[in-house]
Every structure is written in structure tokens, then in C-alpha cells.
Amino acid sequence: MAHFDLSLLLTGQYREWLLAGLRLSLELTAIALVLALPLAVTVALMRLSPVRFLRAIGLSFVEGIRNVPLLVHMLFWYFGAPELLPESLRQRLNEGNFEALSAIVALTLYTAAYMSEDIRSGVRAIPTVQLEAGRALGFGYLASMRLIVLPQAVRIIVPPLISQTLNLWKNTSIATVIGVGELMYQAAKVEAASFRSAEAFSFATISYLSVSLIITGIAAWYQHRHPLRTA
């Protein structure tokens, strides 16, 4: 094996490819996170709702998505789903970055399914008397949730949500299968162009690790700053 030479990556087009990949990975994470959070809250509230029908929908969403690999989600949204769209819309989508769009849909749904379970168990950890007291004071179900239960549940919910964000960050790598030009894709591209697998993959590994460490650090900071209150 040729000697290890990281300087190869610090100049010219290889550097640009890798940095573009890193940026796209971060963007995918940010967009999917912003979209997944409200969806996860909605699904969690459905699963906690007193209406049986809503609970069933929430449960099917969570189980249906969690039990299928993310790779299959990506393949489905990229190859399968467009078949259902009208021709004109499909053409418009193909002009844009349809790979990235499919990846965002898959990542958002996958992350939301996991996050909704964390939110649900956080809410369930708050004693039901809190909800009942809210209802007894005349708040509706949603208002008692929003004003009384959820603010208390936040401390329990945030740490697992941060670790789901870490999973989301790692999961963006799977978008490489449908040809999204994220970090893993670019690292493989550099490897193919330069035959320098060690250097290209070192860059990708160090990038993934650094962002993972930052996310872990945020989790530690949050738990230090807002420790769980024990009654």
C-alpha cells in the first residue's frame, strides 16, 4: 500500500468534492430534523389520544416504518413512489434534485417514527393526574397537553431526541444508494478517481465522528444544564 498522504485531499477538486459532500450531509440532517420534529409530535399525540382510531393510525405509522430498513425506504421513494404521480409533476421533479428529495422524505419519515416513540414515552412518564388536573380546571385535551404535560415532559424527551438526531446524522450516509451526492458518495467518488481509499475514507470517518462527538457533547451539556427533577 502506498504511504498515507492526506495532503492529497487538501487541494483541488478532491477537496471540493468532499466539502460539498459534508455540506450536503449536514443540510440533509438539518432539513430532515426540522420536518421530522413536528411530525413526530403529531404522531406521538395520536398514539396518546383517547380516540381509538387515531391511536391505530399512529401505531401503524410507527411500526410500519420502524420495521423496514431505511435503505428500502430510500429505494421505495426513489424508484417506487414516482409511479403514482401524474406525468407532468414527475417531469418537474426530475428537473430538480429528485434524489435529495426522496432521501429527505425517507429520512424524515424514518426519524419521525423513532422520535415519536421517545416523545410518547416521555409524556407517559408524567403522572396522569397532571393531565386530569388540567382537564378538571377546564382546559381541553390539547390545551392541557400543550400547557401542562408537554412542558414537564421536555426534560425527559430532549436527551433521547438528541441521540435520534445522532442516528439521523449517521443515516444520511444511506442516501448514497440512490445517488445523493452526500459525504459517503463523494468519498467513494474520490476513492474511485484517485485509488486512495485510506485517505478518502479517513476524511469521511473523521467528519462523521466529529459531528457525532459534537452532538454527544450537546446531549451531555443539556443533561448537565437541565437535570431530571425527581419528585
Binding site: 410500519g64 428500502v72 421505495f76 417506487g80 445522532l166 448514497t176 459517503m184 470517518t205 462523521y208 465522528l209
Partner: protein
Amino acid sequence: MKELIEKYWLYFLVGQYPHGPLGGLTLTLLLAAAGLLLALPLGVLLGIARLSAYRWLRWPVTALVMTVRGTPLLMVVFWAYFFLPSVTGVKTNQFSTMLIALVLFDGAYLAEIVRAGILGVPRGQAEAARSLGLGASGALRFVVLPQALRSMLPSLVNQFASSIKETSLGYIIGLQEVSFIASQINNLELTKPMPIYLMLAGTYFLLCFGLSRLAFWLDRSLSVARLSRAAAVRTA
């Protein structure tokens, strides 16, 4: 849909076997099972090392576990696929590559499950074993680990479901597991991506959902058994 199943069910289940390499759903299950079986001893060793009293052992293992947990599985697969052959000089096939990546990756995750399992055994158990004259390793082997491993059983079943999902990444390095086979079928048919990928998703769903139900049931029956044992001790 019916026509697709009639035409491709055998290909979907075993790949080109017996006229070619084994593939399809059988390969997926085989890989997940082999990966978990080999990762388990590694996970136990790493988990124990994470709790070791010796710093020279605890720190590097902690660093290894943290590194693996901070990188995507796909990264580990790429390292094993592109880099390992250039170091060892042995060209491994896709199955062994994927197996190595899975064992390393799941080993690091299992290490944390094992560690939590050991920490979950009340301290009094280890102390009682020590005061009865067992050494540190004897106490671990005969008293703490058996209890820790039993409480881990539901997590292990869940881990098997995760392993099944993880094997789908073999697709990327051209391993003929079930996702790859489904894509091949899609390439042959060209016009029916929707039913093909839905069927693939349904297959994973049945397996993983079934396993997670099993884990739930095991968890409940184990804790019922524990409670009734505790009650028996109290009344005795």
C-alpha cells in the same frame, strides 16, 4: 402482484441457488444470524472490558466502542470492503466483508447492552459472591453474567431485528441479499417498481415486527417470572 410472486418467489427466497450463489431472503437471514452469533461473544468481551478495573484495558476499548458508535455502519462496510484487502492482501468476498462489518458494528452496540446488563445486577450479588470466596472473575462468570445475560434476552431479540435491517446495506457492495434481489427483479421488469418494493418492505416488516413482538412477550414473561420469584422469597 400475483403474477410477480408466481414468477419470482424462488429467486426472491434463495437467489440463483442452486445454479449460482445462495442469495435472497435466505442469505439475509443467514447473514443476520451469523453476524449476531459472532458479535455476541465480542460484545460480552468488550462490555466486560468497558467495566474493567484496569485503565489500560478500559480506555482503549471505550475509545473503540465510541468510535464505532459514532460512525455509520456504511462507513464500516466501506472500510472492510475497500481497505481491508489492501492491508491483509486477502480479497474477501462480499459475504465475509459484510459479516466482518456487522460483527464489529454490532459487537460495539452489544457491548453497551452487556455493560448495562452487568450494571443492572444489584451490587450485593457480586459482593455476596466475593465474600463466599469467589475471585473477581469467578464472581463475574458464575454469579453476575448469568443474571445479566438473562435480563438481556429481549434486547438480543430486538438486536436480531436490527441485524436483519442492517444486512440490507450489503446491497451497496453487491451482496445478493433480499434488497439486491428485489432491485434485480425491478431491473428485469422495469415497469412495476411500486409492487416490487412494497413486497420487499412487507417482507422485512413481517420478520422484524414478529421479532419485536417476541421481544416484548419475552420481556413481560421474564419480569413476571422475576416478580413471582421475589414474592416466593419474601413469603418463605
